[in-house]
Symmetry: C2
Subunit: 362 residues, 2 copies
């Protein structure tokens, strides 16, 4: 799907933007940490904790803000650095809350924010260290959102009244993520089997619109191109769904050395993915019963995971979803090719990035 040069270019773009965004976040951490500390003890510590947590990611969303601006003719647009930092702060807040909901005590090899507060509570003699830690982390996530709003304020200086549309877009799409996250909680905790349609709607809200379309559209808005918003959302819907189908595949087939997660993590956690949904609908009585006994069982080992893996092939699910994903990818790239008045190098980078994200192994 993607050639080596493309991979290198996309990964290289992400890596260079990551450094830039990291620098913005560190500046925010220091200056806002000092300002908050002057008003309230603990402000500096909280800000550095937030920035450390935000720094663990690939910074895909922040990079897409920069790419959106460059694509529509305004590379390094004023306000892009602040918007990229803001979107990463929103993402940090969402992930801090997500970790609490999913009871994930680790995120990318280090303790999640609530886990480190649980530990603080344990040492300081909290009556219920888990509740204590989750409460403090809920606040820390909220502060991420508030600092993101503060960082976004720079956009008004740059765009004046036109900032209104950008801010409304950002708030509105974040609400969609909130709704999608609620759907995800329902899928995870309730016994009802969600329809494939409902799962895809959740993917669209949590991944496609928010992680692709929103940051690209924010970048375009900084370049004064609110007119391309619908076209960008059409690209994001296709590329984001392809990305998520790949993500699910990694959750089944991913190598722990690449992913940093245990083998078959999505199977153990009984994640209500499209893969699981198709497997269950294609499997006959005996296979179905075995799948239902494997999914959501945290004590399964290699043989059970291998069985699920082999069923994706024998039941045709692998072929179906790979075909679907390739189709989405082709359509997404065709839409990118059709975007009008784009800077050609950035268009190439976006195509490479989509290829890379949909074929990555971690």
């Amino acid at each position: 799907m993607s050639d080596r040069d493309g991979d290198a270019s996309a990964a290289g773009y992400l890596a260079s933007k990551r450094v830039e965004i990291l620098r913005s976040l560190e500046d925010i951490g220091r200056s806002r940490g000092d300002e908050l500390e002057a008003v309230f003890p603990g402000g500096a510590g909280l800000m550095s904790r937030i920035v450390e947590y935000a720094s663990r990611g690939k910074m895909l969303r922040g990079s897409l803000v920069h790419l959106g601006a460059a694509l529509f003719g305004a590379p390094g647009a004023p306000g892009a650095a602040e918007t990229a930092a803001a979107i990463e702060l929103f993402q940090a807040g969402l992930l801090i809350h997500d970790d609490i909901m999913d009871r994930d005590d680790r995120r990318r090899g280090s303790p999640s924010v609530h886990a480190s507060f649980v530990e603080e509570g344990r040492k300081a003699g909290a009556g219920d260290p888990r509740h204590f830690g989750e409460s403090l982390a809920t606040c820390a996530g909220d502060v991420c959102f508030f600092e993101a709003l503060r960082a976004l304020s720079a956009v008004a200086t740059v765009l004046g009244p036109a900032a209104s549309s950008l801010l409304a877009l950002c708030g509105g799409e974040l609400s969609v993520v909130g709704l999608a996250q609620m759907a995800d909680c329902r899928f995870g905790d309730l016994p009802d089997e969600p329809s494939e349609e409902a799962i895809v709607a959740m993917y669209r809200g949590k991944t496609a619109r928010y992680s692709f379309s929103l940051p690209l559209a924010l970048g375009a808005a900084l370049a004064g191109r609110d007119d391309v918003r619908a076209a960008i959302f059409a690209v994001g819907d296709l590329a984001g769904l392809a990305f998520q189908l790949r993500d699910d595949e990694i959750g089944i087939f991913g190598d722990p050395d690449d992913t940093g997660k245990i083998s078959g993590s999505d199977i153990r956690e009984n994640k209500k993915t499209v893969w699981r949904s198709r497997l269950l609908s294609r499997a006959g009585g005996q296979d179905k019963a075995r799948l239902l006994s494997i999914y959501g069982n945290p004590s399964i080992g290699g043989p059970e995971i291998d069985l699920v893996r082999s069923l994706t092939s024998s039941l045709g699910v692998m072929a179906e979803i790979t075909g679907w994903r390739n189709d989405l990818l082709i359509r997404a790239k065709a839409l990118v090719s059709g975007l009008e008045a784009c800077e050609e190098r950035s268009r190439r980078t976006l195509v490479d990035l989509i290829d890379w994200l949909v074929s990555r192994t971690y």
Copy 2:
């Protein structure tokens, strides 16, 4: 401290602004509910749930946005309605998260948001209905913040580049609330006794700056008066602390018929208030031991609450704190009188409002 006319005027002002803000919130609930529902199922239901919850309050903060604009010569300033609605949405999000942290299953006579989601989880067969409900409510609180940001976007249209300062103020002060809320969680859950200084710093962050100064300063900013920000924060620091000391007094002496809470609720919950801190530091060995056995004991009754009440008098705490509060009130009103270039009727309303808030019984 306040005459009947003053009370009537302050309460009347709040009541009339409350109707106005409620209308804005209902408009937002309908229009955003429709827009979100078109993108994600459940959007309309969530928005109406949020608006119902936000509507339960006095809408003090939103009213102070309006009063701040009027005070500095721009009553009904463009953007005031959206800013007032935004601040009430932020408040709703903070309270939804607060209810989870405090494990308050009711808020003003109705189930809190997480409690109603816990009930949904119980009916739908969630494995852990409490965790399920708290997770969904965390998301609902987040959506409040995102919709508040969206509502605030209108300010950029009105103020252009000057909106930047207003947005930065709003985000920055909300972060202070987040920090203060974290301090409050530590006071509540850890065995360490907080110093009076630490308690007052928490009051300043959670009440004075956020509930008084911020909304007034937002209103002033809408009137183009960023120059009065420091003066407003000086008023808020004094009036907000006086307000909180009164709030604590209501937590000890409040009549359940007025407050809607059980008698002596702060005593049962072992709230680390300035009152409790002073009582413990003034009490001799035997009284101190009795206070420590009463505070935080949920099964105490009238005699124990009466003992705490009588100790506030006999140990001189009532006289001390009443004196302190009166001093704060006098200084706050003197600062309001000294604010330059104010509209006189609004100045009167602000003085009345401070009097009313500091002498209210609920």
